[in-house]
């Protein structure tokens, strides 16, 4: 699937869970030019037993579009060899995965920075909304956006061209 020298890219908006090992294998198998792979997995927390599930709503079409645009920006800023971004929607229970970012590069700094950038941007730009379902059967309402997530995304605009090891 992925040959050496080729930039592979996988973007998916899906209801089903994903398998971390399989998704990394999809990017790295049969390649010998990748030196560093960073993954970020976001999981649903039970908030000390108060949460029974998160319900993720998304804007079909725009979700994939924003994810593609964010990935394209990362590819421009860092010398990446492979990128994967998967975001789930629907009902997700505590302990289940919500989002996956995988970045592969020859060197570790690029892989770390690109994965951090992708998560910061996905948080503030990808059209997904979380609603809480509480363990007592009530709805906890919509999760509020956090100001520090906006700040985390904004610092990339101010950042200089990243160093690469």
């Amino acid at each position: 699937m992925s040959e050496a020298g080729h930039i592979s890219r996988h973007i998916s908006v899906q209801a089903s869970p994903f398998d971390l090992g399989a998704e990394v294998g999809r990017l790295t198998q049969s390649r010998t030019d990748i030196g560093a792979v960073v993954t970020f997995t976001g999981l649903c927390r039970d908030e000390a037993g108060q949460l029974s599930a998160l319900e993720l709503e998304h804007y079909p079409g725009m979700a994939e579009g924003e994810m593609s645009r964010v990935v394209a920006q990362a590819e421009q800023r860092w010398p990446l060899q492979a990128v994967s971004v998967i975001h789930r929607y629907g009902v997700i229970r505590p302990g289940e995965v919500i989002v996956l970012v995988v970045t592969a590069s020859a060197h570790r700094v690029a892989a770390f920075e690109a994965a951090t950038f992708l998560m910061d941007y996905l948080k503030t730009r990808a059209p997904f909304w979380k609603k809480e379902h509480l363990a007592d059967g009530s709805s906890g309402g919509w999760v509020e956006a956090k100001a520090h997530d906006d700040l985390a995304a904004e610092r990339w605009s101010a950042a200089q061209v990243p160093s690469v090891d």
Binding site: H58, Y59, I98, V99, P127, W129, W142, A145
Partner: protein
Amino acid sequence: MVKLVYFAWVRERMGMAEEMVELPPSVLTIADLALWLAGRDEAAALAFANPDVVRAAIDKHHVSPQTPLKGAREIAFFPPMTGG
């Protein structure tokens, strides 16, 4: 006619996921449209009570309140995103 789509608590407050509307000639920007919708009925007044919080997209791209609507086929309103 333009298609309006709503998500999350904007959808819940509007009481609908989408609608087709004929925009009056005075409605030129996203901000104009939010103001026009807010004056239309109680549900929309609630959804757009705090217009600074509502985000918008035109044809599935993020836009600012000042963006002109000209040529738009699908306009979306939604709260700040909480994915990831």
